[in-house]
Symmetry: C2
């Protein structure tokens, strides 16, 4: 049986080269070995040619280790790097348009900014949602106010696709995010700004899996 | 007989919403009515959703008037707006990768920055080249030093695909650019910063066609 999407989203690393002082590709490899199941490339400063080259390297690392690989914002970079999917937001290409341009099976994630947008995104063809910021975050200065685990539960209640919580998530609070209904947790700094990305990923994975296991009892 | 690409590139407008104080779509419509044959959307400041919506409006105006419509830099916006093609440069997705993602007939332009890149671009699948800056330009602050008409002739000598000259081109010097070997001229300010884009396009078109006619005698 192929793994269900909700399981593949359990520990989702947003890989931003500006958030690590090490080599991003090495960080990602160590993080997957530690328990990361899905990697999203997010880069705002690289020119497209550089971003594409980085995407291809990350895709290879993810494929070798059986992790999903997604690209943030940019459908062309996702297609050009043979990623498993792309992640879009309210300022990006409309979801319906993106869906019309990709093959069946290509994953599209979406970050709704309101409860209404969550349902609309599902109807427009999103495969999963990124919901947050659950907690205050230092990684994304333009993120809105934290919605908390109650806000997360409310936002995903009307949708039947999996959601990952994002924003200020650590090994300490990851379990609460899962118990609030998320299929997984997305992190940036908790792995990329840790001393050891492999160990940080293992701690997060342990929290997520403990909470998922408890939920299924 | 379908029009050859060289003819469709004769008067090429780079449509940048930051370069006009009027409505860009109205400027473009007037410019096509005046003689523009090809329109490229270039925008650096709009978010993707806005750029896509503008691209769709420009595509409609171009289709109604039988002008080519292209999108600068972004293959995803070009595909999502059903443009006729995209225009890439040295910092964008590699040409070969872009070529592998599009249907036959989708046009790919490229701006080589050296004489060697011109030939490499043709071999990598470019349909036409944008070559310049021929003259000094106020529209693109990061353009390099002007290469002049001699530089244009030298850069396109080894290639067998059409080229448009760009950079500081006006009705006064457009003929010289054609006589130097270009299939067409690309302008921004000469139309968008003129008082009347339709008249400005008509003047440029007259210069281009006079020079093309003389070349074929």
């Amino acid at each position: 049986m192929p793994p269900v999407l909700a399981d593949r989203l359990a520990l989702y690393l947003v890989a931003d080269p500006e958030q690590t002082e090490r080599d991003l590709v090495e960080d990602v490899a160590a993080a997957i070995d530690g328990g990361v199941t899905c990697v999203q490339l997010r880069t705002k400063r690289l020119v497209d040619g550089e971003a594409w080259a980085l995407a291809v390297r990350l895709r290879d690392v993810c494929r070798q280790r059986d992790a999903l690989f997604l690209v943030n914002d940019r459908l062309d970079l996702a297609l050009a790097s043979q990623a498993d999917g792309a992640h879009l937001g309210v300022t990006d290409l409309p979801l319906r348009v993106a869906r019309s341009l990709v093959s069946p099976g290509f994953l599209l994630g979406y970050s709704p900014e309101t409860d209404g947008e969550a349902r609309a995104a599902m109807e427009a063809g999103a495969d999963y949602l990124g919901v947050g910021p659950v907690y205050a975050t230092a990684s994304k200065p333009d993120a809105g106010a934290a919605i908390g685990t109650d806000g997360l539960t409310r936002r995903i209640a009307p949708v039947e696709i999996p959601a990952v919580g994002i924003g200020g998530i650590t090994a300490d609070n990851a379990g609460a995010v899962i118990r609030a209904g998320a299929a997984g947790v997305a992190v940036i700094g908790a792995i990329l700004r840790s001393r050891d990305p492999g160990i940080a990923a293992a701690c997060l994975a342990a929290s997520v899996h403990a909470a998922k296991g408890a939920r299924h009892v």
